[in-house]
Subunit: 228 residues, 2 copies
């Protein structure tokens, strides 16, 4: 459902060029749960941002459900993101002026839709990540792991076909982390959602169907997980 062809991303800093991705051919099928691991700075977040259309490649293509993202206008790309993709950012990216509940509903509000039909789903999602009683708190009144859990709920409110998760358990204790991973696994198995998760944690990677290894902007290894 989502694949890349010879994906290259180059950043220019003054006269220095940073090759974040050096030609990546990545593929994930519908209903598959793939983990991406690799050293710090190897290009994982960059790959995730390109997959989600949050940034455009220097060359190469990202193809989502048969459609080349490069052919879409900024508006069309923005709409694909809001309606079909849920993104969990490495730095959470919560809006400091909104409450936790408003942050979770943000994808709906940005889409110009009414939030009322989503109240029940909001409550259910907050309950699933253990944040039900914190709905009215602002991000700066929450711990790091609590903010991360709000970011996770926000990515799932639209029941997206594709979840792109950038180190979603990095600030969570093992119990909250396992809870989140089990949740992602459930969404994948029961709703055929497609999950691409960047992680540094081998235990988190073990929840995936397959693990892809990135190093210096290239895929260097892949291995399927034995799962029953």
């Amino acid at each position: 459902v989502l694949h890349t062809e010879a994906l290259v991303k180059r950043y220019l800093l003054g006269e220095v060029e940073v090759m974040a991705l050096r030609g990546v051919d990545f593929r994930v099928n519908r209903g598959e749960f793939v983990a991406i691991m690799g050293p710090s700075g190897s290009g994982k977040s960059t790959l995730l941002h390109l997959l989600g259309g949050l940034d455009r490649p220097s060359s190469g293509e990202v193809i989502l459900a048969g459609e080349r993202l490069s052919t879409l206008s900024d508006d069309a790309l923005s709409q694909v993101r809001r309606r079909r993709i849920g993104f969990i950012f490495q730095a959470f990216n919560l809006l400091p002026t909104l409450t936790a509940g408003e942050n979770v509903l943000l994808p709906i509000l940005i889409d110009g839709r009414d939030a009322a039909p989503y109240q029940e789903k909001l409550t259910a999602l907050l309950g699933m990540v253990g944040m039900a009683e914190r709905q009215h708190h602002k991000p700066d009144q929450l711990s790091g792991g609590q903010q991360q859990r709000i970011a996770i709920a926000r990515a799932l409110i639209t029941e997206p076909e594709i979840v792109l998760a950038d180190e979603p358990t990095g600030n969570l204790d093992s119990k909250s982390g396992s809870n989140v991973l089990a949740m992602l696994r459930r969404i994948c198995d029961q709703m055929q959602a497609t999950i691409v998760m960047v992680t540094h944690d081998p235990r988190a990677a073990s929840f995936a169907d397959r693990v892809v290894f990135l190093k210096d902007g290239q895929i260097v290894d892949q291995c399927p997980n034995q799962r029953d």
Copy 2:
């Protein structure tokens, strides 16, 4: 060298009171490396902020080298922080308008001192965290783990007696993470620095001399690590 007595921290949110710490008696001796673990929201960052004088308790005392922090003025407290404590924040807290190198030198600059004598130490520290060639880049041009490593270098530039680290390896792959932990261990062993590290990673906790477990704002368990 650093201990607390009946430490309580209460946050007031509208009419809701959040008891972040419910009476904590914590002690760390000079030259000791202590890890603090516990569920998300259990009060770890709050405890670390109070230990570093970044916030004041609702009741109870923080005593640093025999001095009650509550007796210090804001200015005096600020000076203690700058000169004796190195703080690694859970969210890094790098200044977006400064380069990586300038961010590392910030404690020196804030102290009104000349940065020139620190250039060599800056280069050495950046080398130790693998960020030597990124000195002139801004934080938004760095990956999550690269930002974390800059935050780590910043905490160490003043060669502080006490390092307070809030989940310092949360965004690092296992190799960069082990590197940072070995660095903290070395500073502790060779320079008798005192390290208090919050972590969710049992492997990181294994580098410490002792692990303290926090739950719902209270210390519920402690255990020494078998180290040779």
